[in-house]
């Protein structure tokens, strides 16, 4: 082994630890403190209670269990988006995790009362916790 490798490996380890540490500070500093019971859709703020009373429920089967929630397509229609099928939708969590889906996906998705999205026939990467916003793009 060359001495160079013995020197460079600890430097690389320190570098990744520093990157990880700074990223942790950044994530916590930039965490969005969304109001617990509200969600922003198409730049309008709604309370979960308001949505639960107004938007149609849907049940989908995922991993051998049934999960119920607000139908995402009905949610978009409720928020008065013009031509819903003409847009894509970015679902954003409070830790900035986000995924963009199309209208066909929205028709297969739900938002639970604990603010988590689920989609039928989509990877778990699209199951987003603590949703604070659905952005219409």
């Amino acid at each position: 082994m060359s001495t160079g490798k013995e020197k460079i490996i600890p430097i690389l380890a320190i570098a990744v630890l520093l990157v990880g540490t700074f990223s942790t500070f950044y994530v916590h500093a930039n965490k969005i403190d969304g109001e617990k019971d509200t969600i922003t859709i198409n730049n309008q703020k709604f309370t979960i209670k308001e949505l639960l009373e107004s938007v149609e429920f849907k049940t989908i089967e995922l991993d051998e269990r049934n999960i119920s929630g607000l139908a995402l397509d009905k949610l978009i229609i409720f928020s008065n988006v013009n031509c819903p099928s003409c847009h894509k939708y970015t679902i954003i969590a409070d830790d900035s995790y986000q995924k963009t889906v199309n209208w066909e996906d929205m028709k297969k998705g739900i938002l639970t009362d604990y603010k988590r999205t689920y989609f039928k026939d989509k990877a778990h990467a699209f199951w987003i916790y603590n949703v604070i916003e659905i952005e219409v793009i």
């Binding site: 082994m1 490798k5 490996i9 630890l17 990880g20 990223s23 954003i92 995924k99």
Partner: protein
């Protein structure tokens, strides 16, 4: 190709895939950070012990292919395609890192270097596996990849890599020590053991998948 090496790829790949399916899914269902723990403990264990035992570049890519294939038959909850992509990515990144950084541990027993190698390797495996999964899963899924989505979660990915990095740093010296134990097995025992263990892993996972499915 050496028959002993092929058998090694089969058994280590099958054990890796089996642990991802059974233990990874269980940890995930318990709400524990399964990705971090699977990479920090199991992935690095199978990748490193096989590399130090066989000293054959390319072997870990073959193991990743077998483990990822087995992961696709997961009978339990979990994202099949995400995990399979992550496993392949981890195997690929391990090959790249160890092509450049590996050296003979029998001559060098510097604990700092061993811990550092564990930290760097596992952090790189976890972060790259996560990033590649975030890129490929939406593509395979048919939704399409959005660069903005990745950029938004990049700090979170880099932050989440800390836990597996610390685990990797802690267990790498132990794996290196374990690899030095002479466990030379005669062919007449080695091949049947390899075959039986691999078959067990596959029958358990695929059989469960067929029953649940």
């Amino acid at each position: 190709m050496d028959k002993r090496l092929i058998a090694g790829i089969l058994i280590f790949g099958s054990l890796w895939g089996f642990s991802e399916v059974i233990i990874g899914s269980t940890l995930s269902n318990l709400g524990l950070p399964s990705g971090a723990m699977m990479t920090g403990f199991f992935a690095i264990f199978f990748l490193l012990i096989s590399r130090l035992t066989f000293r054959q570049p390319g072997m870990q890519l073959g193991m990743g292919l077998i483990a990822a294939t087995l992961r696709m038959f997961n009978p339990l909850m979990g994202c099949h395609i995400c995990s399979a992509i992550a496993i392949m990515a981890e195997a690929m990144v391990f090959e790249i890192i160890w092509y450049y950084l590996s050296f003979d541990f029998e001559k060098h027993k510097n604990l700092t270097v061993q811990i550092s190698l564990g930290i760097f390797t596992v952090y790189s495996l976890y972060v790259s596996g996560y990033i590649i999964t975030q890129i490929l899963t939406p593509v395979v899924d048919g939704t399409g990849f959005y660069f903005g989505n990745l950029m938004a979660i990049l700090p979170k990915i880099l932050s989440n890599g800390l836990l597996p990095a610390f685990i990797g740093g802690a267990i790498t010296p132990a794996i290196i020590m374990l690899s030095k134990i002479d466990l030379t097995i005669k062919d007449r025992i080695y091949y049947p053991t390899t075959l039986i263990t691999s078959t067990f892993c596959w029958i358990t996972v695929v059989g469960s998948w067929l029953m649940v499915g």
